[in-house]
Structures are given as structure tokens and as C-alpha cells.
């Protein structure tokens, strides 16, 4: 999966540590073995592996220590990173930006990029050095950065903003609002009821594509039935 990228990233270090061609080739092959984790937290493993390769070049480690470290870290860090970055930080940044766009703020995409990348790039750089200095001590990492706790907080804030988007229906951009259809408060209550009904439908199984195609058919039916003029 990501073995090629990992080997590409560590190759300059190997070239420097192992001037001997055969040894260099052996170490490069070692890093081409299966590797798959969350891409941002891979920098923690990369930092740790660089440190261990340095130790190994000084004959203080055996090969299996490096391979074992990668194998041991990739699954838990993958789960942790997926849950935090993809499952909490990205939805928070995106939903916040969508809330701003829906209410007419054109610069929301810029805010999305800044908010997300302050976390992303900051943590990515910090992880590299943290991995190097701690020699891959993931327990220390998890004690320092409470990823799970932050993920839970971010998810709650995201859900609240989603509710807020529905509660701001009267302030939506002209392209989205349907002020003429109903008075404001009943309209917002209707949108909330529709969202809750859709959540119930999704719980019974249903893909985004099917829902969107279904919505298009529903809209056509409403127009041809004369409900929407």
C-alpha cells in the first residue's frame, strides 16, 4: 500500500548511513515490505525508524527491531489517525466552512484550508520529531496528545453546527433558501424533520448516490404533480 512512499521518504537516510551498496539494497528492500497506516501519523513512524536505522548503523540493533516497530505501530496509529483526522477534524473544518458558505461568506474555503492545515501540518511536523526523539514510544505520544478525547469533542461541535445550519435556514444563500414556501419557523421545523427522517432512512441502509438519485426523482414527481409551481 504505502511501502513505496515510505521507502522513498527514508531512502536519503539509508544512502547516507549505508555507503556499501549491498547493505543499502538490503535495507531498502526491508522498507519495501507491506506498510499501511494513516498518512499523517506515518511521520511518527518515519521519525522513529530513522532513529533506529541510525542506531542499527552503529551496530546497536538487529534488523528485526526496525521491522517489528513498523509492524507494531502501523495498525494502532492508523486507527487513531483515521478516527481523529478523517473522522473528526476534517468533518469539523468542512461543516464549519459549509455553514459559512450557506450563509453567504465566500471566503469560507480559505478558512477551511487554514484551520485544517494548522492542525495537519503542525502535527505532521511535530510527529516526525516526536517519533525520532522517543524512538517510537507510542504510549508517550498518546499521553501527550489526547487524540480520542479531542475527536469526541470535535464530533460534538460538528453535530451542533449541523443543527445550527438548519436553525439558520432563514439566512441561507438565495440559491438554497425557500422562504416563500412557508413561514420561517415552520420551514425550519420541516427541514429538521426531513433531516431526522433521512437519518432514519440511512440507518436502514442506503448509499449517498441512491439517496441523491431518489431525491431527483422525488423533485420531478413534486413538480409534475403540481405541488411545486
Amino acid at each position: 500500500m504505502q511501502s513505496l512512499g515510505f521507502a522513498y521518504a527514508i531512502e536519503p537516510v539509508l544512502k547516507k548511513l549505508y555507503p556499501d551498496g549491498a547493505e543499502y539494497e538490503a535495507r531498502l528492500r526491508c522498507h519495501l515490505e507491506y506498510f499501511n497506516t494513516q498518512p499523517y501519523l506515518a511521520s511518527f513512524i518515519l521519525g522513529a525508524v530513522v532513529r533506529m536505522e541510525e542506531d542499527r548503523a552503529l551496530n546497536s540493533l538487529v534488523d528485526n527491531d526496525v521491522v517489528g516497530l513498523k509492524s507494531a505501530l502501523m495498525a494502532p496509529l492508523g486507527a487513531l489517525g483515521d478516527s481523529f483526522f478523517w473522522g473528526a477534524l476534517k468533518p469539523l473544518a468542512a461543516v464549519g466552512a459549509v455553514a459559512l458558505i450557506m450563509t453567504g461568506y465566500w471566503w469560507a474555503p480559505l478558512l477551511f484550508l487554514i484551520f485544517y492545515n494548522v492542525w495537519h501540518l503542525g502535527l505532521r511536523a511535530a510527529m516526525l520529531f516526536w517519533g525520532y526523539n522517543s524512538r517510537g514510544n507510542a504510549v508517550e505520544l498518546m499521553a501527550k496528545f489526547s487524540f480520542m478525547k479531542m475527536a469526541k469533542q470535535f464530533k460534538v461541535i460538528t453535530l451542533t453546527i449541523l443543527g445550527g445550519i438548519i436553525g439558520m435556514a432563514s439566512d441561507w444563500r438565495p440559491e438554497f433558501h425557500a422562504k416563500d414556501a412557508l413561514p420561517v419557523l415552520p420551514l425550519m421545523a420541516l427541514w429538521l424533520a426531513v433531516v431526522l427522517a433521512l437519518v432514519a432512512i440511512l440507518r436502514r441502509g442506503g448509499s449517498p448516490i441512491k439517496l441523491m438519485l431518489g431525491l431527483a426523482v422525488f423533485c420531478l414527481a413534486l413538480v409534475y404533480a403540481g405541488v411545486i409551481v
Binding site: 549491498a22 460534538v156 439558520m168 449517498p208
Partner: protein, 260 residues
């Protein structure tokens, strides 16, 4: 006036070139979120002179695909190709800024293309997985050069995949828009309604994935906070968003404190 004039062909080529560069951010380079629909859509719209279409398409598709995560070996929908294609088709299909029905039609069109983009992603990933063998076959210092070649070939494969998809989707989309414009007014009205209701599907998709509850308490709290602040205190939208976010943060802290 012909459907595909020189300007149109040049525009399609430019979108394919730049869209594929943006697409590299999705999996292959950086992952700084430039490839997310909420950025890729407005960027494409701005390049083609219709930022409004890009903003609307980007916001809607972002909500729909934001939690489609690349976890493990799962290949999510290529939301970048969808957002860039929908925006480009909408912008090319109108000279004075795309109308709402056209935007709705373009979103629907690119949603139908999603299975093709997922299949193309799978093919490229399968091809890329064999690149490791090429490095394994090299020996000595040559293996370093083989690694660089293999790595860059992988990036190129992702890039060319996106270029190919744009070169197929965009002309088809422009032709479809030509047909759409001839369709009865009722279908245009339905597409307009489709765009207005799409954010509700997006919100439901995110709620479904973030919450285990059928009726999520924090969703209701956010709704009530915004509704009261907006309707009774006439707060500005930006203030309401800050208020709602602060309310969510306090709620999260309270839940933590309560569960200890």
C-alpha cells in the same frame, strides 16, 4: 454556433490539466485538502469565471462525501473529479453564470459518474501495487534509482487517470447540458428544487455517521441555539455560527465531566 469550438476544447484541456494537479492532493501528494470539493469547486469556478457555481457545488458535495473515508483498502468516491467536473460543465454550459437548474443537473450528472471514478481508482491502485516488484528486481545502488522511478510512475499514473476521466466526462457533460437546455421547464424547476434540498441529504449523511442516536441531542441543541439567536435576537449569521460552535464545545466538556 458549434457545440465544441476552439475555446471550448482549450478550456476542457486546461481543466483536465489543472484538475488532475488538484486531484494529486487527494491521495498521492500532501493531502492538504485542496482536493476537497469545498476548495476544488470554488477554485475551478474562479478559474472559469463562475465562482458562485463552484461555491454551491463544492459546499453540497463536501457535505455529501466528507465522511467517505479512505480507511484501509476501501477506495472512496473521487469527490474531486465530481466537484471539478460539475463546476466546469456548469461554467462551460452558460455564458452569464450557471442558473440553479443547470447547477443541479451538473451535480446529478457527476454523481452518476462516481462508480466510474471508483473503478478507475481501483485500476490505478492495482497497477501501482506492482511497482514495488520493479524496485525489488533492481540491485545495489541501482535500486535507489528504481525506487525514484517507481515512485514518480505512481504519481504519474494517478495524474493521468484524472486527466483521462476529465477528457471523457467534460465533453460528455457539455453535450448533456446542450440536451438539458432543450428539456421542458418542469424538469428545470425540479432541478432547482433538487439543489435546494441537497444540503439536507448532506447534513443527514454526516449526522448518521457521527451519531449513534436516532435523534441526536447536540443536533437539536445547535438547531435551537441558532433558531432562537436568529429569530428572537436577530443575530448575524457569523455570530450564530460562533455561538453554536461554542455551545457544542461546552456540551462536549459537560458530557466529559458527567461521564467521569
Amino acid at each position: 454556433m458549434p457545440m465544441f469550438d476552439t475555446h471550448m476544447i482549450f478550456t476542457i484541456a486546461a481543466v483536465a490539466f489543472f484538475g488532475a494537479i488538484i486531484g494529486l492532493d487527494r491521495l498521492a501528494v500532501g493531502q492538504c485538502m485542496i482536493s476537497q470539493p469545498i476548495v476544488a469547486g470554488p477554485l475551478t469556478g474562479w478559474m472559469l469565471g463562475d465562482p458562485t457555481a463552484g461555491i454551491i457545488i463544492g459546499a453540497v458535495l463536501e457535505l455529501i462525501w466528507v465522511l467517505d473515508m479512505p480507511v484501509g483498502t476501501f477506495v472512496p468516491a473521487d469527490a474531486t473529479v465530481s466537484a471539478v467536473s460539475a463546476t466546469a460543465i456548469a461554467a462551460m454550459g452558460s455564458t452569464t453564470g450557471a442558473a440553479l437548474p443547470l447547477i443541479g443537473f451538473c451535480i446529478l450528472l457527476t454523481v452518476a459518474m462516481v462508480p466510474v471514478t471508483m473503478r478507475a481508482d481501483n485500476v490505478v491502485r492495482h497497477w501501482n501495487s506492482r511497482l514495488v516488484d520493479a524496485v525489488m528486481d533492481a540491485s545495489g545502488k541501482e535500486s535507489g534509482r528504481a525506487l525514484v522511478r517507481a515512485h514518480l510512475s505512481g504519481l504519474l499514473a494517478f495524474y493521468l487517470k484524472s486527466v483521462f476521466l476529465y477528457l471523457v466526462f467534460l465533453p460528455l457533460g457539455v453535450a448533456a447540458v446542450f440536451v438539458f437546455k432543450q428539456l421542458p421547464e418542469n424538469i428545470h424547476r425540479a432541478m432547482s428544487l433538487f439543489v435546494k434540498l441537497l444540503p439536507l441529504i448532506g447534513i443527514a449523511l454526516v449526522v448518521r455517521k457521527l451519531s449513534m442516536n436516532m435523534i441526536d441531542l447536540f443536533l437539536i441543541i445547535g438547531f435551537l441555539l441558532a433558531a432562537v439567536a436568529g429569530q428572537f435576537f436577530h443575530a448575524q449569521a457569523f455570530t450564530m455560527i460562533l455561538l453554536v460552535a461554542a455551545g457544542g464545545w461546552l456540551g462536549a466538556r459537560y458530557r466529559e465531566w458527567h461521564s467521569q
